[in-house]
Symmetry: C2
Subunit: 146 residues, 2 copies
DNA sequence: TGGAAGAATGCAAAAGCATCTCATTTGTTG
DNA sequence: CAACAAATGAGATGCTTTTGCATTCTTCCA
């Protein structure tokens, strides 16, 4: 039995009903190994180019969207420009982003999650999803000076 | 002495260091009177057209951006397409959006606000802003059926 | 009150991000 | 390994937002 936390592989792609192609394998591998963990489609494109894999940007967008539908990947809409993708390891979390250097950290807070449910209930809503992102300056010295 | 809750006027535009022009006055008035309170630049464009004011879309984007810089207006990046603007009445709040009909409701929760500060502190961040949006189905009968 | 100086507007063109089209290539299956 | 369906790549396209520039308005003071 394998959980979401294990290493992804061609099986995950196959199980999503997709053919195991070189672009898909490379993109999935990159998401796993990626330093920052949170990358835009263009980041993926450039990182793969650097790695000698010339995969079209359209393919990257297509594949990331397919991975998202399959639950392998999560898409975030942080402020400013592009969507950001990360591997879905099955554990929901929210983000805090440095508006100076772009560093992204993750957090999960049950109290915040619970309050959201209560607020939704009060208003008669059924929660399907939520997006919480805190923006600020990280501890990095260079980011401190406003 | 006038607070943020009062009616906006040409003075607000002047105080922002901007000339009091017809487009600016009309856009500000529309934001005040708008039913939903949360409108896209194109919404503003069409609503003004309906009202007989033919103001260019580029001007609307420019003016909304200027109003934002001046603190008169807040911009939100809800999922899907366009940015959404609303008059800044000086009281921070977050949003819950119906993914079926688009209805937007507002809420403010001190507990959530406090937890965010604590989380930021733990991570060594200084909070500058945050965006929390809950997505779900509203109480409207037509929105219930998934 | 008139008119100079600078700011704002409208239009069209451009930019940025994401998706689509379609000819060609690749993966899968028997 | 052939045959078919699915996927890819390159460029076109779509949509939102921004920008350049000639023209029009505001402001302000002589
Ligand atoms: Mn994350
Ligand atoms: Mn609001
Ligand atoms: Zn930083
Ligand atoms: Zn609804």
């Amino acid at each position: 039995m394998r959980g979401k936390k294990d290493m992804m592989s061609g099986d995950d792609i196959r199980n999503a009903g997709l053919k195991v192609t070189l672009p898909r394998v490379k993109i999935l591998a990159l998401l796993e190994q990626s330093e920052q963990g949170h990358v835009s489609a263009e980041d993926v494109y450039k990182l793969l180019l650097d790695a000698g894999e010339d995969i079209g940007l359209a393919t990257i967008y297509r594949v990331l969207t397919q991975f998202e539908s399959a639950g392998l990947v999560t898409r975030h809409h942080f402020e400013g420009g592009q969507s950001v993708f990360e591997l879905d390891r099955g554990e929901h979390h929210d983000h805090i982003v440095c508006i100076k250097c772009g560093r992204v950290e993750e957090f999960f807070d049950q109290m915040i999650e619970d309050r959201q449910q209560e607020i939704a209930k009060e208003k008669g809503f059924t929660v399907e999803a939520h997006a919480l992102t805190i923006y600020g300056y990280c501890k990095n010295a260079a980011c401190r000076a406003s």
